[in-house]
Symmetry: C2
Subunit: 334 residues, 2 copies
């Protein structure tokens, strides 16, 4: 696609969201604006953002600032904060997507507030009740997406079917897998295994026209045993965080072990390579919020400039492959 002359993808970046905002966000936005095919709209308290921007030679970059006078913090109740702060940066960024001034929105701010805001401002796609977080879970298993990773903690089988449909679209559109295999995460591979939700979902999936291959177990995720692995958001979230924590702990121990044998530089490279394999979210810079009517990327609060730039790239891919349009089509078939 990069060969053709495309219209640039306009990405609204929440300049105030994230542990290292605005410094790292603005820095990452400048970096992203220097890449092909994107235009950046930095949304935040204008004075603050411009002061940050002044650090860089950004005058000729496709980058502009839109003022938003308020900021929603991590410790605020999402719904109350949205009500009390109509001019918050993440709200304004979402509105730019709604009005068509931006093609996508990226924020490293409060996940709860972004989700609630996206649902409220952009609305959900027809057939979807609640937004879903999902995507590739581990770079170790690059052809496997996991849905849901934390947005929906109490699920019914019909919701897991939604996750599977979204997962299939994502696998087709972003991983180029024609007929993705679908599995349910369970405590055993046999049909009779699982908790109540898994057992009921199993029957629903069996009777669908998806390429359903049954249940997979925890150890099958790193092996990439299915292209789309579906679980409730509680399990997905616990797994995602456990994976990150375990990876960091292992790498910490490994570094200590290697200290006497290899140079500091070598150890650093080995450590970050392994870490990258474990955390897809860090690689992509953020996960897409699926099910809302627009491209919304939510990143880690601890994201720094490379992750922000990576999230913008991810947003661009989602816009260019028209994931939302494909989702809309698939959902209409249900």
């Amino acid at each position: 696609m990069s060969g053709r002359k495309e219209k640039p993808v306009r990405v609204a970046v929440d300049a105030m969201g994230g542990d290292y905002a605005p410094f790292e966000i603005v820095k990452g936005a400048v970096q992203a604006a220097g890449e092909d095919g994107v235009e950046i709209i930095l949304v935040g308290i204008e004075d603050v953002v411009r002061k940050e921007l002044a650090r860089y030679d950004a005058a000729n970059l496709p980058l502009r600032v839109v003022n938003a006078s308020e900021v929603i913090g991590y410790d605020e109740s999402p719904v109350a904060a949205l009500r009390q702060k109509p001019d918050a940066s993440l709200v304004v960024a979402l509105q730019l997507v709604k009005t068509g001034e931006a093609d996508a929105m990226v924020s490293m701010g409060s996940t709860g507030a972004i989700m609630a805001g996206a649902k409220w401002i952009l609305g959900t796609l027809r057939g979807i009740k609640r937004p879903v977080m999902g995507g590739t879970f581990l770079r170790l298993a690059p052809n496997t997406v996991v849905f849901d990773m934390g947005a929906n903690v109490d699920c019914k089988p019909s919701l897991l079917l939604n996750f599977a449909v979204m997962g299939c679209v994502v696998a087709r559109k972003t991983l180029n897998i024609t007929n993705p295999t679908v599995a349910i995460l369970s405590n055993g591979a046999e049909e009779g295994k699982g908790n109540r939700l898994v057992k009921e979902t199993y029957q629903l999936f069996k009777n669908s026209d998806m390429n359903f291959i049954g249940s997979v177990e925890g150890h099958d995720i790193p092996l990439g045993k299915a292209n789309v692995i579906v679980c409730d958001g509680f399990t997905g979230n616990v797994l995602l965080k456990f994976s990150e924590g375990l990876g960091q702990a292992i790498i910490g121990r490994l570094k200590a072990t290697l200290k006497e044998r290899l140079s500091e530089d070598e150890i650093e490279v080995i450590g970050s390579d392994l870490l990258a394999l474990i955390s897809a979210a860090d690689v992509e810079g953020g996960g897409m919020l699926y099910g809302v009517d627009g491209v919304v990327i939510i990143g880690h609060g601890r994201a720094q400039s490379p992750q922000l730039a990576s999230a913008v790239r991810h947003a661009r891919l989602m816009v260019e492959t028209d994931v939302i349009g494909a989702l809309r089509l698939e959902l209409a078939k249900l």
Copy 2:
């Protein structure tokens, strides 16, 4: 305890259970019988077991054979198999515990059949409805036990309270922690976070006299943020298997990376050290089945002789510290 002259702990070992049975099981039993303070009762098809035993110089070891003419396989339905094979090795081994001829039972056979058999033959402790698998989850976090790891997939808050009580006894008795901290595994640390089960359990724990510290997240497990972490057995089982799979995948990649830099022997040592940190079950040789009226250790199907010997050691510790007696006392208080 090893300084005093104690009565040896008599451990019934299911010689026929496990992927490498009877060869590795008998080999491990011979090894275990050579250690202080245990007596081994090998239970299985006598001819087969004696033929295996003939490989070793075991005549003077505290080890005897008890015949059991049948074997329950992994692919059999536990309940049906127990009914159809009353002389199965795991059944006979459990009966030795029931009649007091053995102090503990160790098997690497079908988890489902051992659980169902233990419940049926030994019965559950007063106040316990179903057996529970639990224990240290990661050697990385040696002072943290996780309950349940897979026995109970659909749970109510009262069951999670059972898990917590058992976890506290185990932490006190086997980890020597006087006042263990207790937490619920959740998708967020705040009180309002969690699925329905977590939210209800939170209130129940808050009103208990346990040392409850609230909810912990996935990344808190490797950090050992609480001594006792409670979750439903579905989540626990998925996590346990994910942890093993992820660990093996990381170590596989690491070995490939280190190949050009270190010797094969060095890589092997680093790899197994890291693997040991991840998988407590492999280190201990097996997990205790809690809640039944007797010491029952269930190991990995793929266990080999060192894991069998380690499981016997674990069984001895459980008998010598009288974990069952302590559990009985604690449960009576509820």
